[in-house]
Amino acid sequence: MTRHDKIPAMVTVKGTAINAEPGSRPVLVDGADTIPRLFQHRCKQDPARVAHREKTLGIWRAFSWDDYWNHAKWIGLGLKRLGLKRGDVVQILSEDRKEWLYFDMGIQCVGGIASGIYTTDAATQVAYILKDSACRFLIVENEEQLDKFLEIPDGAPGVEKVIILEEEGLHALEGDRYMFLPELYALGQDEEKAAPGSFEAEIGQSAPEDVALLIYTSGTTGAPKGAMLSHENILAAMQAGLRELAVEPGAEQLCFLPLCHIFERNNSSYFPLAARSIVNFAESPETVFDNLREVSPQSFSAVPRVWEKVYSRVLILAQEATPLGRLAFSLAMKAGFARADAQAAGKSLGPIKGLAVGLADMLVFRNLRQLLGMDRLKQGISGAAPISPALLRWYRAVGVPIYEGYGMTENAATCTVNRPAANRLGTVGPVMPGVTVRIADDGEIQSHGLTNFKGYWNLPEKTAETFTADGWLRTGDIGRVDEAGFLTITGRLKDIIITAGGKNITPAEIESRLKFSHYIADAVVIGDKRKYLSCLVMIDQENVEKFAQDHKVPFSDFASLCRAPQVLDLIKAEVDQVNIEFARVEQIKDFRLIDVLLTAEDEELTATMKLKRATVEKRHKALIDDMYRS
């Protein structure tokens, strides 16, 4: 390509040419320096190859790179005809589906900025994001999401056109402001006839430093902020992913976490562009586990909540098995744990133990992996929240290796990751290629690399606060790096609690230990300016219900489950167990259970189902006050 004065040395990784020297510029993936150029290259390279699979009426149907290209082109040109200008933000309010990606590419190819809104957001939050991003074109999935848009009190006057993906139930909808997807396609086809080659010309205008996408960060405090990621940021992330993640050519993947989040966006939109893997869309959040079994992906990245759920399901299945089945399972687990521990210590098992593990794998684990849809999985990834080392060890025992990684929207979710060749449980791994990490004097983790974002949309002051004077990204997390370069996260800087006694405490460390209990889904430690620490606990519904049922603890609804004395004793025992590991000032003296079953729609939870400290403290003030009453 002649656009660059100097082309850096290239190397082929998994069939794709990338910079030989991670972090060198320009960042090129198969010769492309922007997402649209790479997209164009991929679609033209092998148009008939399968890009996506979606289930319609119970049957998985395949869609090719040519379909991807054509639909993205019609979307891009259609939006252009409607008046989209380069640099305009287009918001997508939809569950995961192939059209989400068609829009992602279509928008970017004509110079727009693609951004997603969580389908679980309330109308007020949608209104805020639409206004903040000066959005003129909004994509909504269906009737339900459209109704949310219509509930916006001031009618979101900035939005000129709402494009609706599903017509069902909306035949009576009238007005110039609304348009159904087929009409947009038709508009794009028209535009293509009128000005052939204009789509390619738009792609030609893309530049590495342009903003490609906005990711609104949930923000545990304050209003959401739009993080601007450039083409270069994403291409750099792709390169790191090709090198160190299970981003494999031809691999089957499952797309099921929200695409508005950088984690799934990388995994399902951008990494497949780099690797030519196949993205299968889960039908709905409720069917993920069935879809997982059907697809049996080679590459699967998920948040800890998902890995925990799979584990709980297996335990429940095992407990409900026949006595012989239970015996076989517990013997197999014993052998499996021996293997996991030997692997972690870098030792090999003796011949007898090796034989036992082989048998366990053949008789029990292979079936189990097939049942879960993880029989082809070579490198599972867990990210976006801390995961229990005990859980990772369990997965290792059943022959499903999961590697924990770390990143945030602001560095395109590319910072550190464990990998087959370098894995330490309890850490988030060494840095990814092209990224450097340092620990500041106050313990903050700071990162540097081409994946660091351009800043927050329209918030220069916030952006300035996020970078140090010498240009490193302040992650806001605190942690340490060990002698081999493995990073361990210990907490959030702004969450540091200073007790009335003047002791500094990082709650995240205690909270993660609590969360490792199967009965605790999440916890928030309280104690700022207080005499002692306490915490609010969100119990794991499935496992605690199972406990109650097994131990004959009567309960009716969720609130009564949380009131049951035996459940309180159970959680108390878990808290006491965690307390042993901490110094006296860091011990939890009291706790309360959050007795409402929180869902993704609730403001207390982030998109990854973590409790938001500030919101929880505000909403459950009564519970907190109750703990400090005496």
Partner: protein, 256 residues
């Protein structure tokens, strides 16, 4: 105060299918408790397990503090629990009077039985008019009245009513529920009422539970339930028309 009826962690299976997945609830003396739920939620299974027609795999049923789970139905009846089954199930070839007499089968105090029969006739005058008629020739509503009347003839400590509104016109449903209310108020009959018609059930009941897929997802006073958004949109059919006035999609249930 110990409840009249207390159910703890009840699990009941149809072969391999787990119909009740750990149900716990309480009925206090003199109260009307309703259990709401859609088709297949496990409502009828719950009543059948209570009256001994089905045996639970796990869990306890305490009636006046005594464990009765797994007991033969006739022993359960003698303990004072009457099950008015779904779909009436009166004896069609026997007369109204004979049906009522069968309801008092376990009793021998003739004078008292006659008094109770008059009481039933006073609540359901139509049955008195048709006392010599074969039950199979009664209308659906009259058969339902007869089934309830037959249950009353036992002088039950608690009546288990399985969908008394099933197949009845709204007017007749209203009428029967008004009588049930009167029975509860005047005679102090304790009732456990399983219903799909949430509006009438919550109107009559003091307390309620919502059963979904064999688990209780919500419980509380009937007022609390009637005011819950989920109950309103899923059981009471209050449609929120939405901004366009023709909303089709359903909100997700949160049960609070």
């Amino acid at each position: 105060m110990t409840p009249l009826l207390e159910i703890r962690n009840l699990e009941t299976f149809y072969g391999p299918i787990m119909a009740l997945r750990g149900v716990s609830l309480e009925v206090h003396k003199g109260r009307v408790v309703t259990v709401l739920g859609a088709n297949g939620a496990g409502k009828t299974t719950l009543l059948k397990t209570l009256s001994g027609i089905m045996d639970p795999e796990k869990g306890k049923i305490l009636f006046e503090g005594q464990e009765i789970q797994g007991k033969e139905p006739h022993k359960v009846v003698r303990a004072g629990i009457v099950h008015v089954p779904e779909g009436r199930e009166v004896f069609p070839l026997l007369t109204v009077e004979e049906n009522l007499a069968l309801g008092a089968y376990t009793r021998s105090d003739k004078a008292e039985i006659a008094r109770d029969r008059d009481m039933v006739f006073s609540y359901f005058p139509i049955l008195s008019e048709r006392r010599k008629q074969e039950a199979g020739t009664l209308s659906g509503g009259q058969q339902q009245m007869l089934a309830i009347g037959r249950g009353l003839m036992l002088r039950p400590k608690i009546m288990l009513l399985d969908e008394p509104s099933l197949g009845l016109s709204p007017i007749l449903t209203q009428e029967i529920f008004a009588i049930l209310k009167k029975l509860n108020q005047d005679e102090g009959v304790t009732m456990m009422l399983v219903e799909q018609n949430a509006a009438v059930a919550l109107d009559l009941a003091d307390d309620g539970y919502v059963l979904e897929l064999g688990r209780i997802v919500m419980s509380g006073s009937a007022d609390k339930l009637a005011n819950s958004d989920d109950i309103k949109s899923f059981y009471l059919g209050h449609a929120n028309e939405g901004a366009r006035g023709e909303r089709r999609w359903k909100r997700r249930k949160t049960w609070r």
